[in-house]
Amino acid sequence: MKNLRLLSLALGLLIVSCEDNLEENPQSFLSSENFYNSEEDAEAAIYSIYQPWTKDHSRNMYIMNAIPTDEGVPRVGSSDPLDLYEYGPTHGTITEMWSLMYSIISRANVALDRIPEIEMNEDNKKALLAEARFMRAMAFFRLVRFYGDVPLILDPTVDMKNVNAERTTVATVYEQIIEDLEYAESNLPDPNNTEEGRPSNLAATGILARVYLTNQQWSMAAEKAKEVIDSGKFDLMEDFPDVFIPETQPNKENIFVMNFVAGMPGDQQWELKYYLPTEIDDAVARGLGRYVPSKEHLYDTYKEGDLRRDWTMWTSFTHEGETWTFAPHWHKFMDYATLNNTDDNNNDIPLLRYAHILFIYAEALNELNGPTEEAYEALNQIKRRAYGENFKNESSVDYQDLSQNEFRQTLYQERKWEFAGEWIRWFDLKRTGQLIPVMTETMGFAIPERYLLFPIPQREMDANPNLVQNPGY
């Protein structure tokens, strides 16, 4: 009997074990069922978009925009297939660019899907939706230029149905980009109410100008550029270096930037680390010297008196009486305060600045009507500043009396000098039809046509049977 009592006690304990325990209760994760309820949730959804935007962003953009052009070369002795024009669909940067852009698109799509249901201030809601659409447009704008036709994904993925999207034509993708940017233009706050790193309504206008210029819709490009110019919110900085150094950021020239502060959470700005020459003593400057500009095709092409060359690149450095000299290295995003601590520095990276608007305006006007007075003024403002003149006043360095084609070619040259190291060169060469001829001349052998587009990453080709590779790869 005693045994039976013990047994029943034991069995009693067993039965207490309840199966409710099998319910999962993740404590370190939020669940999407009980999120997206408040204004803070909506903002958090928007902030998440900036992580893939800044992650390895500048390096990837540099590698794809500078290395396969006449502007940059990897360091001596390196063998990056992009530099040698031997790259294919397994290249790491080409692969990462694709995945990061679609992360932006996916997070923007989640925000666009969930935020409308949230009860919150309607103006703020519209602004956040506009921001998501702006960022989505930025990602597609890059994708469509790098890869051509790409899957146009506008809804969040919530299950395994229809995950294998097909490519959408470039024209359709551009329609969506323009629609998103137009929505952003009408609903984003003005620059006075916009933080560093986030877009304003005029940033959307400026990017629209750039999109139209890329598509050679000259009058629309000119119109949008003019809107930015006429807004009076932006202007050139008087001195070229002040655009880039942390001490004078934010500033009136930068319209849209990537925001960095040393020591803050989030992705780190790493320009200096990769650009600083290894020749300088490690105790003074800690650089990898990994990406260097081309001496022959960039440094030596600047004209006498152009001050941009020596801010964009440097060839020597003196510190406490010691001097190091080296081949031209990038210097544009210099932050002397963090020279020996280049894991992160303070420079915001400009993605759209007023000078760019002036260039768009000048180019579009020239294409429409030849070099008009306004076109000259826009281009000359940039040149005056480059030569140390007051950009507001007519100057002896001004361009004048150019034919339409001369103006066009001159403007292309000026863009190269102005934007060197700012991840624009490959886009420019491709947009203006110069990529194959310029690179054939630079490389010394015929560049095949296929390089007008980057390949779709092999990993994506393997995962998605509905994708067709770009021709030639």
Binding site: N3, L4, L6, L7, A10, E19, N21, L22, E24, P26, F29, L30, S32, F35, A44, A45, Y47, S48, Q51, G77, S78, S79, E86, G88, W98, S99, Y102, S103, R107, V110, P151, P156, T157, V158, D159, M160, V163, A165, E195, E196, G197, R198, N259, V261, M264, P265, G266, D267, K273, L288, N341, D343, R459, M461, D462, A463, N464, P465, L467, Y473
Partner: protein, 1056 residues
């Protein structure tokens, strides 16, 4: 040079410490013996705890009615039988014969009856009848073998087993095991694949029983140590702070404590473990004391370890010429002038600087014994192992207390406790696990040989021109430690409810506490900043398991004896983990290392993470035997796991098996070939729940971003929810035969099995356009089919010599049967595709080297240059692209196995154990970068000397040039078959007369070697390799892995 002196110094220090400690033990124990008469005189004897049967006191007669009986046990040929169990009938009093067959036992009276039993021999009962000396001859048992094997939630006599179970008994274990139990199992059990992933002290092994059953869920067998599950997936038990290696959880088990290891292979044996049984189950039990027999054992050994081989590389002069050639070819100036080259000589041999002769010391002490009511086994062990790479090591301290006691006649309580503490310095080796080029092995192979270790001022040269870090500096200066504390405890209580009803309740806990510390001083900081960086992390896991079972046991039937065992029970498991990480950088000095994070200037965001899962199970089993001929087993488990979708939490896993002991049939009685012959067949289902938690839910991730100079938290979906997530199920059919021939002179076990896994838990890569990289689904089928054979020749005699031999082999073929509508996908360089086994390497087919422009024009690679690699245009479309890849190798072996032999001659024992693997291929990624021939500052293998040049038209090694696209081809796939002498040991057992003089029960000295001989064509460090650790999808990839060592060992075993 300096460091070499240090090694020599530490070697002598180590060996002298070892010899000293051995002397200490011998001297102190013989001193105790000598002191014994005096102790007795002053009355201390009574307090001496080992009094009852320690030899020291055997001549002293107590003042009771007890008698001391001595004697000898011989076999029929007159040879002494060691290890025979002798018990006094009706009591738990007992002893064993020593090596010469001698025994001494105290019995209650001169009327006592002694029972002599020994595996493979007939049991004998001898009445003492007043004698004080007994000579017994045991005859070999023809019919029965009473070996007991451990099965799930119980044990069974081997002859009644209907499932497929391999086991190692204590006799088969090496004389003085040092390393983790998985190493002991190598090559001993058919169908059990064991491969050492890395040579890091305490490094992990990959174990597969009858092939892997899963693609993305776990493939590791379930380990049960004294009733408590031990998670074998070491990679998951980390705070993620220390990088570059995980510790093998089995390091926490002192191998000298192991009593038996059982491997349950077929569904009949594993279905009782239901959802965790699909990959097989390994049950380890540890020793218990024997009543009336106090045993003190001291084991120690001292080993030297060396890298098995080094990779021949270019020396400085050859390297400089190679780089010059590439530079000139690219239109640059030569990098080294002729004068510089002439002064280079051989340069630095970085492998020589990084590898060392390492010392390994091991001490283990155990005491066991007990009385009628209580038995105990206690042990402590200490291992101090240097790694063969500088600054890697492992210090391991293990304690065990096993206690069993009878509270009343029908209630027993027991506890098994293990406490283990491990301190390990890990060097980052594999580029796969470190994710960067700072791996030490990578550095040792790739570092520029023209560079010295130090600048002239004595500071380190930090890196080569292309940022390969100085491996010596990184190995020595980086702190990368794991301090691990493990507690395993299992408490049980057993009630005999009635004569044949037993209730058992057990509660076990497995606690793991890992502290990880990382410090990178500013002296080795590569580009970036001068900042030093410190990180600390804590990983805490608690797993508790509660099981309650009732067993009914009965034998009945007169004419047809039958037995029935019924088992029913409920088990509950719960596991919770917590991770905490913190870090800082920019410390004013390197002296504080990670000890004062607050003195840093920049702080990493602290991170915390908690996680958990649980399992509730109902289980049952019936074993029925009829007339000792027909055996029947049925078992089932109903398991509920938190990890699955709301409607799919529970799974049902039944199994059934039949056995037929043909040897007991009438018609076999005339045959004297078979002493035992049993056919068995089983079928059942098991499951797999080894996926991450929360896969069925839609969760969000957080990220830190910066806008407006402010830190912001972004939140976004982290996965695609799968509310239908359910069990992965494995169906297994097994048919086997167990036979014993000629009075058990030879025993043979053979099995055929077929396992089909359905609803595979698959992490399918999906297009990035979804915003996700993969999704967890149940999809597809995987098959494993194979045969296993084990043959043992038991005790072959040649005069005075005895020889035991065993051999096993297993062939397994795995195949992915279908993947539903999912496209074939890639994991690294491996493809997952229907019709292929896992581990299929997929790449281009290398056809040699382009010799001239004409060959290029006629080829599918018009942009190639002479000297470039030529690949097969498989689809003949005139170009080489992704469509020209095919399966170029497979990491899974066709046949694995091992053989071993043990020879006894006089007082010598010689044993050898071999294991082998046939037909597996290795992707030698290390060689891929050692033969990249790109002219960078990374060193190359000597193969580069044979590179193509116009004057050396090689058709195997391409030319050196910059920027050749890095195609993955079969050029890097090698045959990984090998035959390895895992272990060779020569032991000398001191003869009895000498032992008596020294007052020891047993003294054994031995020398042994591990890994002394390996026959293989593989060109890398070692054919047993896994750069990705236990990852099932990336086996057989050699990526700068910590090489395995060969070991020379001397050791001593003392028994009191």
């Amino acid at each position: 040079m300096n460091s070499k002196i240090q090694y020599i110094f530490s070697f002598f220090k180590g060996i002298s410490f070892y010899l000293l400690s051995c002397c200490f033990v011998i001297v102190s124990s013989s001193a105790a013996t000598k002191a014994e008469p005096y102790l007795k005189n002053v009355g201390i004897r009574e307090s001496f705890p080992f009094e009852k049967s320690t030899n020291i006191f055997k001549n002293i007669k107590r003042n009771t009615a007890q008698e001391v009986i001595t004697g000898t046990v011989l076999d029929e040929s007159g040879l002494p039988l060691p290890g025979v169990n002798i018990t006094e009938k009706g009591t738990t009093n007992g002893t064993q014969t020593d090596f010469d067959g001698n025994f001494t036992i105290q019995v209650a009276s001169s009327e006592a009856i002694l029972v002599f039993s020994f595996l493979g021999f007939e049991k004998q009962e001898i009445p003492v009848q007043g004698r004080i000396n007994v000579k017994v001859i045991l005859s070999e048992n023809v019919a029965q073998m009473e070996e007991v094997v451990i099965i799930g939630y119980g044990q069974q006599e081997r002859r009644d087993v209907t499932g497929s179970i391999s086991s190692i008994s204590p006799e088969a274990l090496p004389v003085n095991p040092v390393e983790a139990p998985d190493r002991l199992m190598k090559g001993r059990m058919p169908g059990v694949f064991i491969s050492q992933n890395s040579g890091q002290p305490g490094g992990t092994t990959t174990m597969r029983i009858r092939g892997g059953t899963s693609i993305n869920a776990g493939n590791d067998p379930l380990f049960i140590v004294d009733g408590v599950p031990l998670d074998m997936n070491a990679e998951s038990s980390s705070a993620g702070v220390a990088s570059g290696g995980s510790l093998n959880p089995l390091t926490n088990i002192n191998p000298s404590d192991i009593k038996s290891i059982s491997v349950l292979k077929d569904a009949s044996a594993t279905a009782i473990y239901g959802s965790r049984g699909a990959n097989g189950v390994v049950i380890i039990t540890t020793k218990t004391g024997v009543a009336g027999r106090t045993m003190i054992n001291f084991n120690s050994s001292f080993s030297l370890q060396k890298v098995r081989k080094t990779i021949p590389l270019l020396d400085a002069t050859e390297f400089a010429r190679y780089r010059n050639e590439v530079a000139v070819k690219s239109g640059d100036e030569p990098i080294y002038s002729e004068q510089e080259i002439n002064s280079l000589g051989r340069g630095t041999d970085w492998q020589d600087e990084v590898f060392r002769t390492a010392l390994l010391q091991n001490y283990s002490l155990s005491i066991s014994g007990g009385n009628e009511k209580t038995r105990y086994y206690m042990s402590g062990s200490y291992t101090d192992q240097q790694g063969i790479i500088i600054n890697s090591d492992l210090k391991n301290l293990n304690f065990r207390v096993n206690l069993d006691t009878e509270v009343t006649d029908n209630v027993r309580v027991g506890n098994a406790l293990t406490l283990a503490r491990t301190n390990s310095d890990i060097v980052n080796t594999s580029t796969a696990t470190s994710g960067s080029a700072s791996g030490i092995v990578f550095g040792a192979l790739s570092m520029d040989p023209t560079l010295p270790i130090y600048h002239e001022d004595g500071t380190y040269i930090l890196s080569s021109e292309d940022d390969t870090p100085n491996p010596v500096a990184h190995a020595l200066e980086l702190t990368n430690e794991v301090e691990s504390t493990r507690l395993l405890n299992n408490l049980y209580v057993e009630f005999d409810l009635t004569e044949n009803l037993l209730f058992r309740s057990a509660f076990g806990i497995n606690l793991l506490d890992n502290n990880e510390n990382y410090f990178k001083p500013s002296t080795i900081y590569l580009a970036g900043s001068l900042r030093n960086t410190a990180r600390v992390g804590a990983y805490q896991k608690e797993h508790w398991t509660s099981s309650n079972t009732i067993t009914f046991n009965s034998t009945f039937g007169e004419t047809y004896p039958q037995s029935l065992e019924l088992l029913g029970g409920i088990t509950i498991d719960e596991e919770n983990t917590e991770v905490l990480r913190a870090g800082a950088s920019g410390f004013p000095t390197n002296d504080l290392k990670y000890y004062d994070l607050s003195s840093g200037t920049v702080f990493n965001a602290p991170q915390t993470f908690v996680d958990g899962w649980n399992l509730i199970s109902y289980l049952g089993r019936a074993n029925y035997t009829f007339n000792d001929k027909y055996l029947l087993t049925a078992s089932a488990r109903y398991d509920g796991s938190s990890r699955f979708g709301a409607g799919n939490k529970f799974g049902f896993f039944p199994s059934g098996a039949i056995g037929w002991r043909i040897s007991n049939e009438e018609f076999m009685q005339t045959s004297n070939i078979f002493s035992d012959l049993k056919l068995r067949a089983s079928y059942g289902k098991t499951g797999n729940q080894e996926i991450g938690n929360y896969g069925s839910l839609s969760l969000l991730s957080t990220v830190n971003v910066l806008t407006g100079d402010q830190a912001r938290t972004g939140i976004y979906p982290r996965n695609i929810a799968n509310p239908d997530l359910k069990w992965e199920t494995t169906d297994q059919f097994d048919v086997g035969v167990d036979m014993e021939l000629w009075n058990n002179a030879i025993s043979i076990t053979a099995d055929y099995y077929k396992k089909t896994t359905t609803d595979l838990l698959l992490n399918v890569p999906i297009p990035w356009t979804t915003g996700f990289s993969d999704a967890l689904v149940n999809l597809g089928e995987l098959k494993n089919e194979g045969v296993e054979l084990a043959i043992n020749a038991n005790t072959i005699r040649f005069g005075e010599a005895r020889l035991n031999l065993s051999f096993n082999a297993a062939k397994n073929k795995s195949e992915i049967l279908n993947l539903g509508d999912i496209e074939p996908f890639f994991v690294g360089e491996s493809i997952i595709r229907e019709g292929l086994p896992l581990g299929s390497f997929f790449g281009y087919v290398y056809e040699g080297v382009f010799q001239n422009e004409q060959e290029i024009e006629n080829s599918a690679q018009p942009e190639a240059q002479p000297g470039d690699e030529r690949f097969a245009d498989l689809n003949e479309d005139g170009r080489i692209n992704a469509e020209d890849r095919q399966v170029i190798g497979n990491a899974q072996p066709d046949i694995i196995g091992g053989f071993s032999g043990k020879l006894f001659y006089k007082n010598f024992e010689l044993s050898a154990r071999f294991n082998y693997s046939v037909g597996n291929e290795i992707y030698n990624e290390t060689r891929r970068h050692l033969e990249s021939l790109s002219g960078s500052t990374k060193n190359q293998s000597v193969v580069a000397l044979n590179r193509w040049t116009p004057d050396n038209p090689s058709n195997t090694i391409p030319a050196a040039r910059r920027g050749r696209p890095g195609y993955f081809s079969d050029r890097y796939i090698e045959d990984g078959s090998y035959l390895r002498m895992q272990d060779l040991t020569l032991a000398y057992v001191f003869p009895t007369n000498l032992l008596e003089k020294l007052n020891f029960k047993n003294i054994m000295i031995f020398v042994s070697g591990e890994n002394l001989l390996t026959v293989t064509d593989y060109s890398g460090f070692d054919p047993e390799v896994s750069g990705y650790g236990q990852n099932a999808l990336s086996q057989g990839i050699d990526q700068d892995v910590y090489p395995t060592a060969k070991t020379f060992r001397i050791g001593l075993q003392l028994g009191f």
